[in-house]
Structure formats: structure tokens, C-alpha cells
């Protein structure tokens, strides 16, 4: 590879945006060319400068609320509702309404019960998947696709690989060190897996979009502890051999 080509693709190489073969060629060139080696160092230096989180502007307070307030409160009906035709008052006018009301109430109760049962079933299935994924991740060399404690590297790494952007906080000061990130698969979709470490215990945090809202719940399965909940459009599953109370502590940190 020539220096000219090396210069043009160096940035894309660091962004992980060139094919494997070309990155191998580039690495071979970088190993022998001192000038391009310096180029790489400078690129690294620039990346470090740009990683400063305060460069990014954040929305001023109140903007979110003012946008919410500006959204139409009700969707406009496609056609105007027909005016109810005036009826002669009769003694039994309320009777059909009552019947329909009873049917509707019964439907709601049945649907709720069915949903509850299904949810219980699917949660059990999910818990199984979570524990499987956790065990698989602990097998040699599969823990992290991007192994770094730098949250500003893990988050961008997920971008483009997922259709959502998970928060990647590091809680090293609270005793939960971020070890990296990984793509995993559950519920027929690609999910984000964050890896944290507490002493010798590895914790997997699986995150994926969900329209549900569910308070945190704990359970045990095959000797592993799990905590899971859903809020703000995301579902979280924590799994580890760590004791339940410390796992709850991490859940609390992630939720705050």
C-alpha cells in the first residue's frame, strides 16, 4: 500500500469502517512506514480531543416540555362525527349500554388474565435465554466485542450495529467497573450487552427496545441471579453469579 492511500483510509480504519482485507494491508504498511505511523498517532491524538463530552451541546432545560406541549393533543378525526340523532327518552335507554358495558368489562378481565399468563410464560423463556447468553459469554474469548473501560468508546461502537442507542455508564467509583460491550441475540433480535465486573464476578446487562413498562423484579435460575425491568422504551436484564443485593445495587445505578 502507498502512503497516499494509507492517509485517505486511516480515519475510516480507526472508525472500523473498512473491510478486513484492507485493514490488514494498512496495518502491514503502518508497521514499516514511520511517517504513516506518526500519522496514526496524530489521528489518535485528535480522536482523544474530540472525545471530550462537553464538546457536544445538550438541549436547554424546558425544550423537551415545550415540544411536548406543541404536539397536537388529539388527532383530528378523518371525518366529522355524525351528530347523534335526537331520541325520545324511554325508560330502557340505558339498558343496551349496560349490556355492552358488561361485555366490555368481561373482555378486559379475560384479556388481562391471558396477558398475565403469557407474560409469565415469556418471562420464564426470556430468563432462560438470558442465563444461556451469560454462560456463553463467559466461555473463552467471547465476553466482549469491544473490550474497554472507556464508555465513550463503547457507546459509539454500538452505533450502526443496533437500531437503538443504549446508555453506557461506567460505575467504577461505585465498584462496578465497565469492561466492555458486545452484541448478543435474544427475543429474535440483536441486543446490546454491557459487561460489568464486581470483584471476581462478571455481570451481563442486556438492553433492547421495548414498549412495556415493568418494575424491577428479581429471580434465580440455575444458580444465577437475575434482575429485570422495562422503562423509558428499553428493557433491561441483569444476570450474574453475584449476590442478589449487590445486583440490585447495580440495577439501581442503571435506573438512576
Amino acid at each position: 500500500m502507498q502512503c497516499q492511500e494509507s492517509k485517505t483510509i486511516l480515519g475510516a480504519y480507526l472508525d472500523g469502517e473498512i473491510e478486513l482485507m484492507r485493514s490488514v494491508e494498512l496495518e502491514e504498511h503502518l508497521a514499516v512506514c514511520a511517517e504513516c505511523g506518526r500519522d496514526l498517532e496524530e489521528q489518535h491524538g485528535l480522536q482523544e480531543l474530540l472525545r471530550n463530552p462537553s464538546l457536544r451541546y445538550t438541549a436547554p432545560a424546558g425544550l423537551r416540555e415545550s415540544i411536548r406541549a406543541s404536539l397536537p393533543a388529539e388527532s383530528k378525526p378523518l371525518r366529522p362525527k355524525a351528530e347523534p340523532s335526537p331520541q325520545r327518552a324511554t325508560g330502557l335507554r340505558w339498558w343496551p349500554a349496560l349490556q355492552w358495558g358488561a361485555v366490555a368489562a368481561l373482555c378486559v378481565v379475560l384479556a388481562g388474565a391471558t396477558l398475565f399468563w403469557f407474560r409469565g410464560q415469556s418471562e420464564q423463556k426470556l430468563a432462560g435465554q438470558v442465563v444461556d447468553n451469560h454462560i456463553r459469554s463467559l466461555m473463552a474469548g467471547h465476553l466482549a466485542d469491544v473490550a474497554t473501560s472507556d464508555q465513550h468508546q463503547v457507546k459509539p461502537w454500538f452505533a450502526g450495529k443496533l437500531s437503538f442507542s443504549p446508555n453506557v455508564p461506567d460505575f467504577v467509583d461505585k465498584g462496578f467497573a465497565l469492561k466492555g460491550g458486545r452484541l448478543d441475540y435474544m427475543e429474535n433480535q440483536t441486543v446490546a450487552a454491557l459487561i460489568y465486573q464486581r470483584r471476581a464476578h462478571i455481570i451481563n446487562v442486556f438492553i433492547y427496545p421495548s414498549s412495556e413498562n415493568r418494575k424491577p423484579a428479581s429471580e434465580q435460575l440455575r444458580g444465577y441471579n437475575l434482575v429485570h425491568w422495562a422503562e423509558s422504551g428499553m428493557e433491561y436484564w441483569l444476570v450474574s453469579d453475584l449476590n442478589p443485593s449487590e445486583l440490585q445495587e447495580l440495577a439501581g445505578l442503571l435506573r438512576s
Binding site: 492517509k7 485517505t8 483510509i9 486511516l10 480515519g11 475510516a12 472508525d15 469502517e17 496524530e42 489521528q43 491524538g45 485528535l46 480531543l49 474530540l50 472525545r51 471530550n52 462537553s54 464538546l55 457536544r56 451541546y57 445538550t58 438541549a59 436547554p60 425544550l63 423537551r64 415545550s66 415540544i67 411536548r68 406543541s70 404536539l71 397536537p72 388529539e74 388527532s75 457507546k155 459509539p156 454500538f158 452505533a159 450502526g160 450495529k161 437500531s163 437503538f164 442507542s165 427496545p209 414498549s211 423509558s232 422504551g233
Partner: protein, 185 residues
């Protein structure tokens, strides 16, 4: 779709990217007020078009709307034509007491200034990549450019940044010890 459900989905898929949208708008407009207006207008348009949105995540989609809005109704210019406006830029900078400015603040200002001085098409590619973490494919989608163009804009933009920040970067790498002394205060 039920209206309440639509509001909830919009919240989960679009409103949660408000910081990202504001960041992009702020780099486009170079001042807070215009950026707020732009985000507000883009959000409203997004909401009106939301029934046609197919996807789980509205970030890129919102960016496309916001960018089109900026180039069509705000400046009526393409990024190639939009020029750097020194007055607007300096008016937006917060003034601080130099004595209490920490090292990091100075650095933030310097880098921001360097990014602002990039030509529009380099700047937007760089902001989308470095601050919003978009993939090259997503940047191509937002800026309506081929992938190769995205790659070369990023490459040139970074080269210019390295050039304009060269003095600072050299200084910094030579003074790591001094820096720690300042930030450790």
C-alpha cells in the same frame, strides 16, 4: 394508530433523541435560540409525518428532517454555500472569568472553534460521526451523499482539524505532567 399510543411511540423513538437533535441544530445554526427553533419545528414536522415512519429508532430519521429544514427554510443554502459567520459565532460564546477557566474549558473552546471553522459539509459529517456516533452509512443517509463522499469529507475534515489544532496538540502531549497539576486542583 390510537393518538395516545402515537404520542408514546413518538416519545420513545423521537423525543428521546432531543439532545442529539439539539446538538446537530446547534452546530448548524451556531446559536442557542435558532437551534431551539429549528429543533422545535423539526419535531413538529416529524410528529406530523410520524405515521409514515417505519422503524424502531427515529434518530437518523429526525436528523434528515432537521437537516432538510435547515437548508431549505432557514438559510436556503446548501452546506457548500453556507459560510462561517464570525459575528453570530462570537456572540454565542459564553464569556467566563479567565481566572476560573479550567484547562478543560479552554480545550473545549479551542476544539469547538476549530470544528466551527470547517467548511459546512466537512463539519456536518464530523459532528454526526464524532459527537453522534453515526456509522458512515447513516451519515450518507442524513447528508444524502454517497458513502465514498462521506469517507473523503471525514478524512479531509479531520486533516484540517489536525492542522488547525497542531500547535495545541503538540503542546499538550509535551505537558502531560503540567496538565494533571492543573486539573487535579
Amino acid at each position: 394508530m390510537d393518538h395516545q399510543e402515537k404520542l408514546l411511540r413518538f416519545e420513545n423513538q423521537v423525543v428521546r433523541h432531543l439532545d442529539a437533535a439539539f446538538n446537530l441544530a446547534r452546530w448548524f445554526t451556531r446559536n442557542d435560540d435558532d437551534a431551539k427553533d429549528l429543533v422545535q419545528e423539526a419535531s413538529l414536522r416529524a410528529f406530523n409525518a410520524f405515521d409514515n415512519f417505519r422503524g424502531d429508532d427515529g434518530k437518523v430519521w429526525l436528523f434528515v428532517i432537521l437537516r432538510n429544514l435547515f437548508y431549505s427554510s432557514v438559510t436556503r443554502k446548501t452546506p457548500e454555500q453556507a459560510e462561517f459567520n464570525e459575528e453570530i459565532h462570537s456572540a454565542g460564546e459564553p464569556s467566563g472569568n479567565p481566572e476560573v477557566l479550567l484547562f478543560r474549558d479552554i480545550e473545549t473552546r479551542l476544539v469547538r472553534q476549530a470544528v466551527e471553522q470547517l467548511a459546512g459539509e466537512y463539519r456536518e459529517a464530523l459532528v454526526l460521526r464524532e459527537f453522534e456516533g453515526l456509522s458512515y452509512r447513516e451519515i450518507a443517509e442524513v447528508t444524502e451523499s454517497p458513502l465514498g463522499t462521506v469517507m473523503s469529507r471525514l478524512s479531509r475534515g479531520r486533516e484540517q482539524l489536525r492542522h488547525s489544532l497542531a500547535g495545541y496538540m503538540k503542546n499538550k502531549s509535551g505537558q502531560k505532567g503540567g496538565r494533571n497539576a492543573v486539573s487535579g486542583k
